[in-house]
């Protein structure tokens, strides 16, 4: 992941670098062109002056020849040769070893003809100039220096101004990180003088409000729907109770009635559990107490004693003193659901046991094959098709565990299901 501020800096740096790199040959070519142009102009001026001055002296040919000879020997950068046929001028650059400078030097040269008293002379004018490679090096060094200055400036200015400009954005980001749907309140976003940030914050605020509203609505819907169902369920239940009193019922009708009882019982159970889930999600059940797990399990298993007995299931409990800080109702629901789950899925003649292991409570019951662990704790995702529970018992158990940051896990080993709650 890249940071926003670096993002804006990077293209600037790349652009600056590209411009400066391109500028190196451009600078060089320009400087070189100016040099040569200027030197060529200078050479021609010298040639003109030379020709004019030599001609204006109006000397005899022999004197001219000796003067040329002297000039050729004495004047640096000049060499004269006599020629018979005129040839075109030529300007060129030359790099050679210079004996006087005792170094490799670059020269701009002009070879041209001058005519003095009818004698045609070929003149070579040379001017020492900076070597091409040294020029490039110097330009590159200057360019790199300025590039570094530019870069440092960019980074500094970017830090300074961008941080200030984007501060509201980062504040908004931090507020959003802290936002939780379950909290029920939208995050407080900082006020900003900048139109875009104000727009952003308003947009986010609307979004949060809408999410909160639909979250609340969804929770309320479950709760209201369950509440609304209670009364018709009560009516159906009482109608069945009344119908049962009818003297004219034959056996098939009674069987139908019994089936209807079973179904209404199941609907009642689902409805009750949905309500319970909604309440746990609503973060009701706030008060906490120290509860003895062994005591509570003892009470609960006593309630189940009838059922263990009638299904010939052996129940054992090995829980020494263990206390938990929790809401008594929720802990009771959790333990009840795990016991009911164990009881419901244990075949007749099997066994159910609860044991404590440090800060763990392990519910173990006889089983035939492993349950689908993925679906186990999801709502209405029955792990097994053989038994019809409410489909919510384990979902509620997990919801309670999550509330207290307890871990609930399942595994199957040696013909036993294990549900482990780690506190």
């Amino acid at each position: 992941m890249k940071k926003l501020l670096d993002q804006s800096l990077r293209p600037l740096v790349i652009y600056a670098m590209a411009v400066l790199i391109v500028s190196i040959p451009v600078y060089f070519l320009t400087i070189n062109w100016i040099w040569e142009n200027e030197l060529d102009k200078h050479h021609y001026a010298i040639r003109e002056k030379l020709e004019k001055r030599l001609t204006s002296l109006d000397l005899p040919d022999s004197s001219v020849a000796s003067m040329i000879n002297v000039l050729d020997k004495v004047q640096p950068g000049f060499s004269f040769t006599q020629t018979t046929a005129p040839s075109p001028d030529s300007s060129y650059t030359l790099i050679r070893f210079d004996t006087f400078m005792n170094d490799r030097e670059q020269f701009r040269c002009l070879t041209t003809d001058i005519r003095v008293n009818g004698t045609l002379l070929r003149v070579l004018i040379e001017t020492n100039m900076e070597e091409i490679d040294e020029t490039i090096l110097a330009i590159a060094a200057v360019t790199i220096f300025f590039f570094i200055v530019l870069l440092a400036g960019f980074v500094y200015i970017n830090r300074k101004t961008s941080l200030r400009v984007w501060r509201p954005f980062y504040e908004t980001l931090n507020s959003l990180h802290a936002f939780r749907l379950e909290g029920g309140k939208p995050a407080a976003l900082p006020a900003s003088q900048v139109t875009e940030f104000t727009d952003l914050n308003q947009g986010l605020d609307r979004l949060m409000q809408a999410s909160l509203a639909s979250y609340k609505q969804q929770k309320e819907f479950t709760e209201n729907a369950s509440h609304e169902l209670q009364t018709p369920l009560a009516v159906v239940k009482s109608k069945l109770d009344l119908l049962l009193q009818s003297r004219s019922l034959d056996q098939p009708q009674m069987q139908i009635l019994e089936d209807a009882y079973q179904a209404i019982n199941r609907v009642t159970r689902i409805n009750k559990n949905l309500l319970l889930l909604a309440k746990i999600e609503h973060a009701q059940f706030d008060n906490q107490q120290n509860i003895s797990v062994a005591g509570l399990l003892g009470e609960l298993s006593a309630q189940f004693a009838d059922r263990f007995e009638s299904s010939s299931i052996r129940y054992t409990q090995q829980v020494s003193e263990m206390t938990l800080q929790a809401n008594p109702m929720l802990l009771e629901i959790l333990l009840t659901n795990l016991l009911v789950n164990a009881l419901r899925y244990t075949p007749a003649g099997g066994s159910v046991s609860v044991r404590a292991d440090q800060r763990k409570l392990i519910f173990q019951n006889t089983g035939i094959s492993p349950l689908n662990e993925q679906n186990l704790f999801r709502r209405f995702a029955q792990a097994s098709v053989e038994h019809a529970g409410s489909g919510l018992g384990l979902a509620i158990a997990r919801e309670i565990c999550e509330r207290y940051n307890w871990q609930i896990t399942y595994d199957f080993d040696c013909g036993h299901h294990h549900f482990t709650v780690s506190f």
Binding site: Q230, T231, D241, L257, Y261, N265, K279, R307, H387, G389
Partner: protein, 224 residues
């Protein structure tokens, strides 16, 4: 014995009325808060069934009016609110019992029976049916004068049957009565058989008139 049913769902009120009327109760109805208030101020009842969410007001206010006036009517709250807090609140306000909807009619009948017995403690301490006698205060059951020793659950069942005399009671209703809230977590109520069988055996051995009948597929009936 007069019962006032304060319930705004007419179907449910009618069903409760139909069930209770066959039990020799005289039922009156109130479908709104105002009507309920008028009735409790004008008449006395052995037991009042009180719904909490009423058109026009909170059922608990009716209870408050009764307590304010020092009335002795038994009150059973019947409410769709099934949570602990509401139950505690209702019982604190002076209700004798709290029954969450949806409930079985025999359960309601048993609760009413129990409330009325408790209220008229002095003269109605014993339940009598021919050779069978139940002393409610000492919880002793005798058949032809001989004590039958029953477990707590068996006595509970016996009273449940007696309070629903001549009515067919479904297995689920019995299971719910015996194991309370956890009953609706199971589909299998076989354990009810065991308790009924034991109760029947003990009573038969003591020589009672075989009032407890098994009804095909559905449940039981106490005849008397």
């Amino acid at each position: 014995m007069k019962i006032l049913i304060i319930e705004d769902e007419p179907e449910l009120a009618a069903d409760i009325g139909a069930y209770l009327s066959a039990q020799d109760y005289l039922c009156e109805y109130a479908v709104s808060w105002a009507q309920a208030r008028e009735k409790v101020e004008l008449y006395r009842y052995e037991c009042i069934l009180l719904d909490l969410m009423l058109p026009g007001g909170d059922g608990l206010d009716i209870l408050a009016i009764l307590k304010e006036q020092g009335q002795q009517d038994g009150v059973i709250i019947i409410s769709a609110k099934n949570d602990y807090e509401n139950k505690i609140r209702g019982l604190h306000a002076g209700a004798d019992d709290y029954l969450a909807k949806p409930f079985h009619l025999p359960e309601l009948a048993a609760r009413i029976y129990s409330v009325i017995r408790r209220r008229s403690f002095a003269n109605q301490n014993n339940v009598l049916q021919n050779e069978l006698k139940v002393d409610l205060s000492s919880r002793v059951v005798t058949v032809n004068g001989a004590v039958v020793s029953l477990t707590r659950k068996e006595l509970d069942l016996l009273l449940y049957f007696i309070s629903n005399k001549n009515r067919v009671i479904g297995k689920t209703a019995l299971a719910e009565h015996l194991s309370g809230d956890i009953a609706d977590m199971f589909d299998n109520h076989d354990f009810v058989y065991a308790h009924v069988k034991n109760l029947k055996k003990k009573l038969t051995e003591a020589g009672y008139g075989n009032y407890l009948k098994t009804i095909y597929a559905t449940g039981y009936k106490w005849e008397g």
